[in-house]
């Protein structure tokens, strides 16, 4: 393949003429010159269009007496916000803070949504391949039905369902401290103490230690053929150690229980109906796509793998968990990344059902301040950051999981 450069499809002239390449002839038939001219032309055109739009915009803004700039971020925002992960007071806190609340709300629904959609989607994807006829039928109907209806319409539906729950005074009350009403789901909340933080830290440490232990066990198994037990180590690191730390610091335990006072519940942890409806809608919708990805990932593994596993006397569940799923991960991960991205982007439909995500708050901001370009720039910036973060993480993970070819 010494002539690989000559066979490059974009250099047809070289085939015909075979001219020495070091000569740069200033002629139209020189493909490289042509390429340069084309590129200059295209870039020039794009540059001109951009300049033209920017020019128009600045003239229009001037004509409409709208001053650009980011000063509005520090002005007090009169946007009432229902769900505030960080402290926020309307008419006192700034627009910048309101936008930060919006970003956190988007993150809150996206992160939980990705997690739950993955779990549900994987379960459904495996369910579709089940030998139980009813289960495989139902999951198929679910996947086909939900995929073919616009998400926005589904959100309207879920929001209606969540609102159809009884009012706070007649709330469902399945166990102490848990209330289900049209004001949302109320859960008891743990009063946070230092010991809890330390116990959590111990748990994280335990997780790492367990992981290291199992790696060591793997290596030992490879060397000696015998695997040391892992479960006692896991039990110690994940359960005994955190509980010990918690007990050593006085074992504080106090639950903040929600209670009905006046119009509404006070105390406890709230999952608002808007959040619940958006979350359910996103999870139910995205899970159908994830289910299809998981299913095709499993089907991509040749039948021989199942048969070989069966011949070794392994059960179907063990074959699925230890042989098939690890291999299908390579097929599954790339499309999964784009589904996660879709979920994050679809969370912007929140605006239709009253969950105040970044798009909703940026919309209100630019309506109140008139700073349209800045508002749109903020929305773009936030989503581009999310996208880049997710895709680079998934790329990294994909590389780790990729087949190491010899």
């Amino acid at each position: 393949m010494a002539q690989v450069d000559l066979s490059d499809p974009r250099f047809p002239g070289i085939h015909a003429g075979g001219a020495p390449r070091r000569h740069v002839r200033l002629s139209w038939s020189d493909p490289r010159l042509r390429n340069v001219i084309w590129q200059v032309l295209i870039l020039g055109t794009v540059g001109f269009v951009v300049w033209y739009l920017v020019h128009n915009t600045s003239r229009n803004l001037e004509a409409r007496h709208i001053a650009g700039g980011w000063g509005f971020l520090w002005q007090p925002a009169s946007i009432p916000i229902g769900e505030t992960p960080i402290a926020y007071t309307p008419s006192v806190s700034s627009y910048g803070r309101a936008l930060a609340v919006g970003i956190l709300n988007t993150l809150k629904v996206s992160a939980v949504g990705v997690l739950l959609a993955t779990l549900l989607g994987t379960a459904v994807g495996i369910g579709r391949l089940s030998r139980n006829w009813l289960l495989s039928r139902i999951t198929a109907v679910y996947v086909e039905g939900v995929r073919d209806i616009p998400l926005l319409l589904q959100l309207f539906f879920w929001y209606g369902i969540v609102q159809a729950l009884p009012g706070p005074r007649q709330a469902f009350h399945p166990v102490a401290g848990v209330f289900l009403s049209n004001r949302g789901i109320k859960l008891p909340q743990l009063d946070w103490a230092q010991a809890h933080g330390l116990a959590l830290a111990a748990f994280v440490f335990g997780l790492l230690a367990t992981f290291a232990w199992s790696r060591w066990a793997d290596r030992r198994q490879a060397r000696t053929g015998r695997r040391p037990l892992t479960w006692p180590a896991a039990l110690f690191f994940l359960l005994v150690l955190p509980i010990g730390v918690w007990a050593a610091f006085g074992a504080p335990f106090h639950l903040d229980l929600p209670a009905l006072r006046g119009f509404n519940f006070q105390g406890g942890l709230t999952i608002t109906p808007e959040y619940a409806a958006l979350l359910i809608g996103l999870v139910v919708y995205t899970a159908t796509y994830i289910a299809e990805i998981v299913r095709s990932g499993i089907l991509a593994i040749p039948r021989g793998q199942w048969e070989a596993g069966g011949a070794l006397g392994l059960s179907r569940g063990v074959i699925l968990r230890r042989i098939v799923l690890p291999q299908s991960m390579r097929v599954i991960i790339p499309p999964m990344a784009s589904q996660y991205l879709n979920l994050v982007k679809n969370s912007s439909l929140a605006v239709a059902i009253g969950y105040q995500d970044i798009v909703s708050i940026a919309d209100t901001t630019l309506n109140q301040t008139g700073q349209a370009i800045e508002g749109v720039a903020i929305i773009m910036g936030v989503y581009l950051t999310f996208s880049l973060a997710i895709s680079s993480f998934m790329n990294w993970y994909n590389k780790r999981m990729a087949l190491r070819e010899r």
């Binding site: 047809p12 870039l43 009813l134 616009p150 209606g160 349209a372």
Partner: protein
């Protein structure tokens, strides 16, 4: 498979034992699911049929009296809203006595999809059919000739608008997507390649709502003073640019999947770049990605409903507006169900088609 079905016909009990109750775990799942389905169906039938209200009395001036519906609101559906509002939901502001025209357009679109789906028609003439059909649709919708009264574009709405946004969007986005995909794989023109990468990644980075919003808010700012940039046009442009970025990635996957030998063989035949692309590369690459292409189409058909957020009267917006009418306020679920059925019909047909095609292509590849 055939033997299982044969068994089911002769001995249903054996079939059930093999497929529903083959282990205690499977039995539990079956019973739980059956219980859930029966309960859900029971509730739905009660609401949708048994306790439903199918018609309401009208006053002398035609004003409906929805009291029977309100009385049954918690327990039964109010289907009376459908005969009252279906024409608004389907055609929105289109002049009432001219609504046969958009109705005919819907039929034309469906026929166009059916023809395009048939592999016997996959030839050059298909492009002409598309152009002709879109021309007839434009003629019908606008009118102004052949004795049809002129109907300005801002009076369009409902289902035809949804179909126009989706069809026209994809028809324009697809060629653009092919160019972008080729541009992104161009090694001889790094600047063009960079441009295509930036375009695709930028568009895919933000949600369609953000682009629609940007199009309707910012396009008017981009235009020179006095140029009236229509909101529908802005939304259509946004949908085209958005769809093109996603389709470009699908097409690129097809280009990448094509063995390098095809391109090298074409070069060996002395074909020029564009001849090679048009005659060798694209026909094969596109064939490889037809199923994902159809899936992307389905996605965009559904996504056209987002134009509701910027206040364009597509099918979904017309539906939500219909239930804002005071006598009918509160009967949204009935309308949403109707809309869901319409969207489902279109998307399900496309998805079934895509699956069938996938199987067929798989078979022909294996042979």
């Amino acid at each position: 498979m055939a033997s299982t079905r044969g068994l089911a016909q002769t001995r249903p009990i054996d079939w059930a034992r093999a497929n529903l109750f083959n282990s205690w775990w499977s039995t539990a799942v079956t019973l739980l699911l059956a219980w859930g389905i029966i309960r859900a169906l029971w509730g739905f039938i009660g609401w949708a049929f048994v306790h439903a209200v199918y018609s309401v009395p009208h006053a002398a001036d035609g004003a409906p009296d929805t009291a029977p519906c309100r009385a049954a609101q918690e327990v039964g559906a109010c289907w009376a809203i459908v005969p009252e509002k279906y024409r608004f939901i389907l055609f929105a502001f289109y002049p009432y006595d001219q609504q046969w025209r958009p109705a005919l357009c819907v039929v034309l679109f469906v026929a166009l999809y059916a023809v395009s789906a048939n592999r016997r028609f996959w030839r050059r003439e298909l492009g002409l059919i598309w152009i002709a059909t879109l021309g007839v649709v434009a003629l019908l919708m606008w009118g102004g000739v052949l004795g049809l009264p002129y109907v300005p574009q801002y009076q369009w709405g409902g289902l035809p608008l949804t179909l126009i946004l989706a069809t026209l969007g994809l028809a324009v986005a697809f060629p653009l997507a092919v160019l972008v995909a080729l541009g992104r794989r161009s090694t001889a023109m790094p600047a063009v390649r960079l441009l295509c990468i930036v375009y695709v990644e930028l568009i895919r980075g933000a949600p369609l709502i953000a682009w629609l919003f940007m199009a309707t808010v910012l396009f008017p700012l981009f235009m020179p003073a006095g140029v009236d940039f229509d909101k529908l046009l802005a939304a259509q442009v946004a949908i085209i640019l958005f769809a093109a970025a996603y389709l470009a990635e699908v097409v690129r996957a097809g280009l990448q999947a094509l063995p390098k030998g095809q391109s090298e063989a074409a070069d060996a035949l002395g074909l020029r770049y564009w001849q090679k692309t048009r005659l060798i590369i694209l026909p094969q690459a596109l064939r490889l990605v037809i199923p994902p292409l159809v899936n992307t189409f389905i996605g965009f058909f559904k996504d056209t409903s987002l134009v509701l957020i910027v206040g364009i009267f597509d099918l979904l917006k017309a539906g939500t507006t219909a239930v804002a009418d005071p006598p009918w306020q509160g009967f949204g679920n009935e309308v949403y169900l109707l809309l869901a059925v319409i969207y489902f019909a279109f998307c399900f047909a496309m998805s079934r088609y895509s699956q069938g095609l996938e199987r067929e292509l798989d078979r022909s590849r294996r042979h």
